[in-house]
Symmetry: D2
Subunit: 279 residues, 4 copies
């Protein structure tokens, strides 16, 4: 066949499988988003539409890779996707998994731009880079997401105070940095409240807590008009003593968009957002 004498070059493609039975986290980051957000006049300190566009793109990734991506967390221009331990996507080839997620996210971001910025033309194609990290246990996964949310808190409290000083306090950006240098959280909270009448705890939860996407199981309500992301059959037991009364109910998997604390135990141990897959 034509070309067969060149086919040896394929041998240079080396395998890169992830370790079996570990959690995989793919984190993507906006490339040059400082400039990108300036060019598109994103609001300061947070642009709700821009964050919702990020969430929309992330939901697209979760839906496309349902069954593999079990959770996601986003803040600013970054998003982290958690793949279950026994994920077999691309036979766990790391580069394939990572590039597919980065590409799908990017594609959805550009695709959905007009829905979130109907008045603002996209001036140039944005890009994201990505990385894949392996984590052995559920403990590491909790700490990973806690790390990201703690980062959200630190950055957002700083930025909220900084931009309050600049936009409302009328100081220069340089002066604002100077004022904040070395301050701790309590001082920033106090500045916000006493100088600008801002109760930080009442700021929008999406800004303070970032966005968490999780799958939940719900009994399908046949009269609902909201489309479920995923529907499958399940067995639900009736009350004790009536073993024969088991009935088949449609269960729906829904992808929830939450802005809640994921550092404490509550998110992980109870309620609708519990993650059995990570136990």
């Amino acid at each position: 066949m034509a070309g067969s004498r060149f086919a040896y070059v394929r041998d240079f493609e080396l395998p890169d499988p992830a370790l079996p039975d570990v959690y995989l986290v793919v984190r993507i980051d906006g490339k040059g988003f400082h400039k990108f957000s300036a060019a598109h006049n994103f609001a300061k300190p947070n642009d709700a539409a821009a964050l919702e566009l990020m969430n929309c793109a992330a939901r697209q990734v979760c839906s496309e890779l349902r069954g593999d991506v079990v959770m996601a967390f986003g803040e600013s221009d970054e998003y982290s996707f958690l793949l279950k331990k026994d994920c077999q996507l691309y036979r766990r080839r790391k580069t394939k998994i990572t590039t597919h997620i980065v590409s799908l996210f990017t594609s959805s971001y550009v695709f959905s731009w007009p829905s979130y910025f109907p008045q603002t033309r996209l001036l140039q194609p944005p890009s994201f880079d990505g990385r894949l990290v392996e984590y052995p246990t559920a403990k590491h996964i909790r700490d990973y997401f806690a790390w990201r949310q703690a980062d959200t808190h630190v950055n957002n409290l700083y930025n909220t105070t900084f931009w309050a000083c600049v936009l409302r306090g009328g100081v220069t950006e340089r002066e604002a940095h100077e004022r904040l240098r070395g301050t701790v959280s309590a001082q920033k909270n106090e500045m916000l409240f006493s100088e600008f009448g801002i109760n930080y705890e009442r700021e929008e939860a999406m800004f303070r807590k970032g966005t968490t996407l999780v799958w939940t199981q719900e009994e399908a309500n046949e009269t609902t008009t909201q489309p479920a992301e995923d529907v499958h059959d399940g067995l639900v037991s009736s009350p004790k003593g009536s073993q024969q009364n088991k009935r088949k109910v449609k269960m729906k998997r829904r992808l929830r968009t939450l802005h809640v604390d994921i550092i404490g135990d509550a998110f992980w141990l109870e309620g609708t957002a519990a993650l059995p897959a990570t136990a």
Copy 2:
């Protein structure tokens, strides 16, 4: 600092540098493009607008990474990018390089879709996956691109004959596959000519040869109205004996879009498209 007790999770991000002083090739592939092209009614066997959109996205990658990406080759829903041996992009971290290129390509593809398909709404966000391969020498690079172009030839000759049978010959797709099973190139050429009056060698070069993007150096013509991709200063000697007469000329690097043979020596050894960086 808040979150510092979680920061240990960063230690799980392991290094993945490429070997120094080897060529890097990043190849991207459309994910599920059979379905994607059907959904958007791409012409068979080749859709010129779809290929030109791929070329446009690839040009965006080359321009963004000028100085690092020295050549690219595309066919169908794939594109290969050659990075120079001493590329220091992202300190040669493989995943960063690969994801950035995949993301930028994807982003540009969606961004530029309306320019190439003004009448066709993009129905869903397309995605691409990518891989990075290391090649030690210029010989491997030549053979790599020869391998891809030989693939272009084999596939395009098959597809051209197949769709001639179906679209003009009125046979079913199954029947067309049957007829072509086991035929060699000469037989397909003969079928095309005798049955459908098609001289394969006169088919569009972009279909037969794929698309090659290369940077060329040209003396800037101040009166040109065509914008150069890149302009820099260079010294050009005047004729011997007039050392003092050196004059400064503007040199332009231009990104050329070619549809030529890259298997033979000519492309590599002579002419405007020569690649000094791969010598």
Copy 3:
């Protein structure tokens, strides 16, 4: 400095750190030991001296790397070493860890040969190869060692029956293989008992169960004459109600050589051999 223009070649030494917080298992295998054991007239089916020499070399590895190697298991010409999850040896560089263990084992094997084979001159330097495997959880570690010990059982039962047929039954090796083809364990046990009067369960435990090396903590008995591998101080509580009576006792870590079942729970959950480090 002389040589500095060549020093760039160091940049080709790429990092290879193990993932943090996973167990590391280094397994070594004799290279060409079929021929080596024939050349040195090792007894069939098992040569006790040869196995004890393996154990001796493995003990040397465990002692040298005490604090990092928490357990080892050997059979035939292979040995597996378990490194604790938080092992920081060589900053977890995989090749360094693996080569050091392989080298130390090899060195000790040759060094100690005369002690186990005083009458047999070592004819040529034996060699071993090694590999390093990462395991995320204690469950994987138990299954790893169960896998090796199950292998010991299968191989040893086969070899014991095979050599009984050849050495006592007077059949050729080919005939012995034929007889055993397709037999299950019960049939081999029965053959051994009815034809050769061998009760397999009474064969030497080292042959049937392989050898397990573990560290145990014991209260140092000052009058003991047996040298401890390691001695350190620890606090041992006196009975309830006498908090003030805590006394300081010398604790000794001893490296035990066991030939016991490590597939069942007992070894892992109770007794002196329990492995707190793997919990």
Copy 4:
């Protein structure tokens, strides 16, 4: 089969192939040889017997892996082995190659100890660690070996002067370090000559140049009594004009032990030691 439910643990053994068609260099280093050489009273600044034992162990590696290891260079307690570009040993699995070489070297070192130190009992098993580095071109290989030999020169000139000061000049080790701090080569050469009557260039070549092992092709002399490492058939042309007179001669590959300059061109371009495999 017994154990099959545990066999999944094998899936954690990940592939680690070297890139095709690049040179592989395995370098081994003595572990704790400062202490080891003190314990065995190695002569200062160089112990000829200790170096010859290193060379002996390296020759054993070269002979065992003839056809794959094409050259080696050693100094002090380190040795580098060059494997040819198309080496297929262990299907180029990096850890297998590295551990086998480290193990064989170690084994030979201990095995041959009594031949080089007949009066000195080996007190403890020495060990070596190893690393494998990939180099794309012959240029890198020349620079690699130049780097090692430049290191030999710098270290040996320092050590020769240092120990001359201590052993003949009667100063303490601390004082000797002080005297040498900041001196360049010319100053050390001058000190050696003027204070101790030592002409550095006449010091033993093995100390100054390290040891290079290479394979050479020689016409077999049937009457030779020296055993060849390797003998094979080859065709040698007779003088021009007598094409029909080609005769078959036995060719011997011999492993030469050299102490020559390998930084300059001569070693690489001419003479018996030329390395066609690295061209």
